[in-house]
């Protein structure tokens, strides 16, 4: 067992983790970023589409370009990045159990920031374990990172932004998307993404779901069925498609396993994908010295994840005495302002109220514990 000591350890080298690393290392902290993947960047390098929002959030820039810039900044900041490194556990004192190059390490950091992101939800139906049924995110990794087409004829379940964007990218990569299916009565994602797919002639089946997938050794056919207003299937409305791949884009849930191990307090927020850790305005959880950032605090999107990472990095540096309260307050004020913008408007409103209830839960918890707010 080898011991590694550092000021700040960050689990996850995605949007949030890299942003946190940049902020903490720039302030002078000794930073170690750990990620189980061979490449840093988390989901960013899979995003070949242009981001939305304001100029402050690099609207119009493609996701992987944002990832490249962020990575360069992190490299220049002096943060150390361990890739292909598995964090398999965390003790109550926030020491991390780590496997790297077949060696066992224990990482002891003064502050730990968990930015492990989210994982795809799964949906069970007859045939859902056949090879060829996969998460939309998995399909996106295959085409945009590994450059392998998962199949030729694809049915996408779920019309949120992930379902829409991945459908379009699958088409760009040369596959036929035969249908987009969603149980809800409306298309879930942005109109601009849906429009591109519609114009390409892909039929949308709203108020439909998958009845079953059939095939001998792999997916050969998928049968969909219409559902009523209570999401109950309506017999006689089945339609069958010949496909070799079925992608599931039915939401994400936060990867909170490490955080649970510390005894951290959680609350349940469906809009955020399930159980999420309580945290305060500095992204610090109910476990002193343990910070969270990005989708692990509740599923949102890349820009919010980067801002939460910035916030956690600044707060950790401040707690280490590397930033004066005035310097930190100025930086945090700017970041919080940008976060407010990201959580405003028609699509941001739901996330804003979810985040407010999460922060309120933390305040209630601290009050119960007799701590300061």
């Amino acid at each position: 067992m080898k011991i590694k000591e550092t000021d700040v350890a960050i689990v996850g080298a995605g949007s949030a983790g890299l942003s946190a690393a940049y902020q903490a290392a720039s302030a002078g902290a000794k930073v170690l970023v750990l990620d189980e993947n061979r490449l840093p960047g988390g989901q960013l390098f899979k995003q070949i589409h242009k981001f939305f929002g304001s100029r402050a959030h690099q609207a119009g820039t493609r996701g992987y370009m944002i990832g490249r810039q962020l990575l360069e900044r992190v490299e220049q900041s002096g943060a150390e990045v361990w890739l292909d490194t598995l964090v398999y556990g965390m003790e109550k004192n926030c020491h991390l159990g780590v496997i790297r190059n077949g060696e066992h390490w224990v990482v002891k950091a003064k502050k730990v920031i968990v930015a492990t992101g989210a994982k795809e939800n799964y949906l069970a139906f007859p045939g859902s374990t056949l090879p060829g049924v996969m998460g939309a995110g998995a399909a996106q990794t295959m085409i945009n990172v590994n450059r392998v087409l998962p199949g030729q004829r694809i049915l996408m379940l779920g019309s949120g932004n992930v379902g829409l964007i991945v459908s379009y990218q699958l088409m760009q990569a040369g596959a036929d998307v035969v249908a987009l299916v969603d149980a809800a009565p409306n298309i879930g994602g942005y109109g601009v993404h849906a429009g591109k797919i519609r114009r390409a002639g892909v039929p949308f089946y709203i108020s439909h779901t998958i009845k079953q997938v059939t095939g001998k050794d792999q997916v050969e056919q998928v049968e969909i069925i219409q559902v009523d207003s209570k999401f109950q299937p309506i017999p006689g409305t089945e339609k069958t498609f010949d496909v070799d791949t079925v992608c599931l884009a039915v939401g994400l849930n936060p990867m909170t396993e490490l955080i649970w191990m510390t005894g951290c307090e959680f609350c349940f927020i469906p809009a955020f994908g399930g159980h999420v850790p309580l945290h305060d305005g500095n992204m610090e959880t109910s476990v002193p010295g343990l910070y969270v950032a990005g989708d692990v605090t509740g599923v949102e999107e890349a820009s919010s994840a980067m801002e939460e990472g910035n916030l956690a990095g600044v707060a950790a540096a401040e707690a280490l005495g590397l930033l004066s309260p005035e310097e930190a307050a100025a930086k945090k004020g700017e970041i919080r302002g940008r976060l407010d913008i990201l959580r405003s408007g028609l699509f941001g409103e739901k996330r804003r109220s979810a985040k407010q209830s999460q922060l309120q839960n933390m305040a209630d918890y601290q009050q119960k514990k007799g701590g300061s707010l």
Binding site: M1, G89, E91, K92, H95, G97, H104
Partner: protein
């Protein structure tokens, strides 16, 4: 009003409650959290002879293991008992060989088939075992069980016969009248009975203290791992020789880490395909966390004896407490200074194997005042 109140809804308490119910007694189980939430829900299911201390403990195990053969039928539930799984203890050097040979000779006095075999023979029985060993101890009989299923089966069978079970109910004191135990005070009120059984496992010492009894049962932590399900890999239950050395001859161990963690290998494959890998024996009060030190020690030990495991994923680490006693024997019987108060606890790592016989004998003692098998060696009064 109940005939008997059993404190503790673990494998021992539920076994006692079932046996008492079979004898027509009205039983109440009072459980602080939930059925099988203590040791039985956090252990492997080894039911072997060779890991038992020679003498009374092994004699008792022989009686108990006999009972396992008919449990499925009697309880009306599959408890995943594998009768002929067998047990192997790989030995690493001559010193261990001599120690286990001497122990096996003592153990054979209880009429069990336990013998020393060569490394080659051991690998013929378990082909995945590392051939780089000095030899092995082998016990062809004995097996494994799903301890969680067995505890639930005991509790359901008891309930069917009229027993009542109160979970999330903590014992906070006792009703003692004219020097006799007459009932329990709990977080959900007072309940009276003619006899009270302390089957609180690793917490039995604490509970006894509420009745003013000072009994030396201490919690001993065991850490374990469970792997992803894999194909058939292991039939026998395997405990490395250190397992018995730590259990019976700790004074011979020089490595301080091994001594502190009490770390040895105990491994079995469950019916579902997952391997349960242990373990440690640590005195850390009720601190139940897994530690990185133990994780490393256990995994190295597992790969030492089963090299192919290096490519198998562990899906979870967990831990449980075992009720330790200074002389390695459980406490079974009525407390002389407090009539009506019975002990059925302190089995340490043998509780799963000894659960059936413990239930039977304690029930006999309460109902008839005597037992069909002499348990005077286990009397709690030896500590009073």
């Amino acid at each position: 009003m109940y005939d008997v109140i059993v404190m503790g809804g673990g494998i021992i308490g539920c076994s006692v409650a079932w046996q008492l119910s079979k004898l027509g007694k009205k039983v109440l189980i009072v459980e602080r959290t939930d059925i099988a939430s203590g040791s039985a829900g956090a252990t492997d299911g080894v039911v072997g002879y060779h890991t038992k201390k020679p003498g009374p403990q092994l004699d008792l195990a022989v009686q108990s293991i006999e009972m396992f053969k008919t449990l499925n039928e009697e309880l009306g539930m599959d408890v995943e008992y594998g009768l002929e799984a067998g047990g192997i203890q790989p030995v690493e050097n001559k010193e261990q060989w001599d120690m286990l040979s001497a122990m096996a000779e003592e153990q054979r006095k209880s009429g069990v088939d336990i013998r020393m075999i060569s490394a080659r023979e051991a690998c013929q029985i378990e082909p995945n075992l590392n051939p780089d060993i000095y030899g092995a101890l082998y016990s062809p009989t004995g097996g494994k069980v799903n301890p969680l299923a067995l505890t639930v089966a005991f509790s359901r069978a008891a309930k069917k016969l009229g027993a009542e079970i109160m979970t999330n109910t903590e014992v906070t004191g006792f009703i003692i009248e004219e020097g006799r135990a007459k009932g329990v005070v709990t977080s959900k009120g007072e309940f009276r009975a003619d006899a009270i059984v302390n089957a609180c496992g690793s917490w039995a010492g604490k509970v006894a203290k509420l009745a003013g009894l000072d009994l030396p049962i201490k919690p001993r932590k065991g850490q374990l791992a469970v792997t992803e399900p894999i194909g058939p890999y292991l039939t026998a239950t395997v405990q490395c020789a250190l397992y018995n050395v730590i259990k019976f001859r700790p004074e011979t161990i020089k490595d301080q880490t091994v001594l502190k963690l009490g770390s040895s290998l105990s491994i079995e494959q469950q019916e579902s395909g997952g391997l349960i890998i242990g373990g440690t024996r640590e005195f850390v009060d009720y601190e139940g966390e897994n530690t990185f030190e133990a994780v490393e020690t256990m995994m190295k030990r597992a790969v030492r004896f089963f090299p192919a495991l290096k490519d198998v994923s562990v899906i979870r680490f967990f831990s449980g407490f075992r009720p330790y006693t200074p002389d390695g024997l459980s406490l079974l019987g009525e407390v002389k200074t407090l009539p009506g108060f019975y002990m059925a606890a302190g089995h340490e790592g043998d509780g799963i194997a000894l659960a059936p016989i413990t239930g039977k004998l304690i029930a006999e003692l309460i109902v008839t005042g005597k037992t069909s098998y002499d348990i005077s060696d286990f009397s709690p009064n030896r500590f009073l």
